[in-house]
Symmetry: C2
Subunit: 318 residues, 2 copies
């Protein structure tokens, strides 16, 4: 049976991640979870839970890579950490298809390169986030912050990786690729985007040209390519702005509703919105270009995150 490794340390809420293990095993069949972390804590949190214990393995780790650790140092020195032990297991166990971690992003990326290894032809693995748009379609944005100060050939590589992922996961033929820039006109952009534009035009990919930040949620592109700096700004904007706007609009709804107005449907709509567009629990960013699947869950990952990310991984394998 396929195995997915879950690093239970490193995120803000290890207990929630551990609870996510049993929730996942109840929701998803046909997978074994390998939990790497504080063995005593994992056993304690799961003590009262009812689930198929034959599909849970526990691997004990002895230390944690925190967000304050220097990524490369931590990977080299903290050999007993959940992240390093998770990677070693992922590398050596044929049945293990993927790893999920809510830990230090930089360490996870460096571990992917150093401990797991890159796919052939990949210079820089990219961090990709797939999110739902206003048209119900999903869009893949990369790089989301793993690679800053990129060169044009890196962005070309990101485009290829993103297209391959969207083809494999969402069965999209010939995914539409947009280049995140400062205007839609061909000649607009920075030195980097102009050079990348020329490479993408010649690439044989389905390149639709420059796009602006306002197209991020429009669903017009399947893949949006960027250096990790504006890409991270875009991703964090989607998160922050979505929450701010819903908060503002909800406040206005409250203010405008009469005393006798039915407000229940507003709360139902809000609940539906949050469950569809909450990037926290929605899934995770995928590290593309390494030898097996590695998913970086949000630092504030909760029970649902684990369920959703496992489903996301299994979808790519079906």
């Amino acid at each position: 049976m396929r195995k997915i490794i879950v690093d239970t340390c490193g995120g803000d809420n290890p207990v929630a991640v551990i609870k996510g293990l049993s929730k996942t095993l109840k929701a998803v069949e046909d997978v074994i979870l390998v939990a790497v972390g504080d063995k005593a804590q994992i056993e304690e949190v799961l003590a009262g839970e009812e689930f198929d214990r034959t599909r849970l393995e526990i691997v004990a780790s002895t230390e944690v890579i925190t967000n304050n650790d220097h990524p490369a140092d931590a990977i080299m020195r903290k050999r007993g950490s959940s992240m390093v032990r998770g990677y070693m297991r992922l590398k050596t166990d044929e049945d293990c298809v993927a790893m999920i971690s809510a830990g230090n992003t930089g360490a996870l990326i460096i571990g992917g390169v150093v401990l797991l290894g890159r796919q052939e032809g990949i210079e820089r693995p990219a961090l990709a986030t797939v999110y739902p748009t206003a048209t119900q379609k999903w869009t893949c944005l990369l790089d989301c912050g793993a690679n800053v100060d990129c060169k044009a050939h890196h962005l070309l590589s990101f485009a290829k990786q993103g297209a391959a992922y969207m083809s494999a996961t969402y069965k999209i033929e010939n995914p539409k690729i947009g280049l995140l820039s400062v205007g839609t006109e061909d000649e607009k952009g920075t030195a980097l985007t102009k050079e990348t534009f020329a490479l993408l035009k010649e690439s044989g990919l389905n390149f639709v040209g420059n796009i602006e930040g306002k197209t991020l949620l429009s669903g017009e592109c399947d893949v949006i390519v960027s250096d990790g700096y504006p890409g991270n700004v875009a991703l964090k904007s989607i998160e922050g702005i979505s929450h701010a706007i819903v908060k503002i609009f909800y406040g206005l709804l409250k203010k405008n509703a009469g005393e006798t107005s039915d407000f229940q449907f507003v709360n139902r709509a809000l609940g539906e919105f949050m469950s569809t567009y909450d990037l926290n629990s929605l899934g995770g960013a995928v590290l593309l270009g390494v030898k097996k699947q590695v998913v970086k869950a949000h630092g504030s990952a909760n029970e649902n995150t684990v369920v959703n990310v496992v489903k996301q991984i299994l979808r790519t394998l079906s």
Copy 2:
């Protein structure tokens, strides 16, 4: 009396901009508008309108700088255009305090440097957008796309210009400055943001450190500084995501409302939201660092834009 120049050409809706002239003169006292554009068109559109005609001057132009024109070429060659004639008037008429244009952004910036001139000590004028946040406070984001491939000393200069503008316009003492980056930790960022971080730290400005895209609408900073590429992505994200989110949420409200539910208050809330957060009509981006105020109105500027931008300019002068 103070005069404000309005370039009536260049935007997507010259007729709406012209109608905005009379609307402004009805809403705002103590200002003369100098409309530069197609004289016959201006007179025709305003023929039936009732307003104080002694406070409107019309300057005829003979050509238009379009969005397809190369900015520098257009400023040098289209000497009869509304933008160039507007700038010449702004430069030479002491009573003229500001110019508004919805035209070609690049041409407006180059015109600001070449025709109007930079303030002393300013190497690159910056394009700043001031927008409302979730806490009702206003935040100034710069650069919004005028300057890409910046060096750290440019960003330091943007921070100083933004702080001075927010102090003058919103009477904020010692404005809080954030640096748009890929993480909040001091050591995160690109080569550019790291170097800028060090300069800002030593600058004597009220620098609060690195901020992420999710802080754009939180109101935590008065000024957010960035290279024009991520800055433009951030600004366009705010626009595009706000609209997408409201559209999605409105759809969910419709879906969840019962047949007998009162839906009027939802529409009232939506109307209020749109009038408060619609960047189109809200105002414009300010070109900072040139000798007089120049405001770039949104390409799709409408009647209300003119009213709002004139009010915005007068506020900085009070």
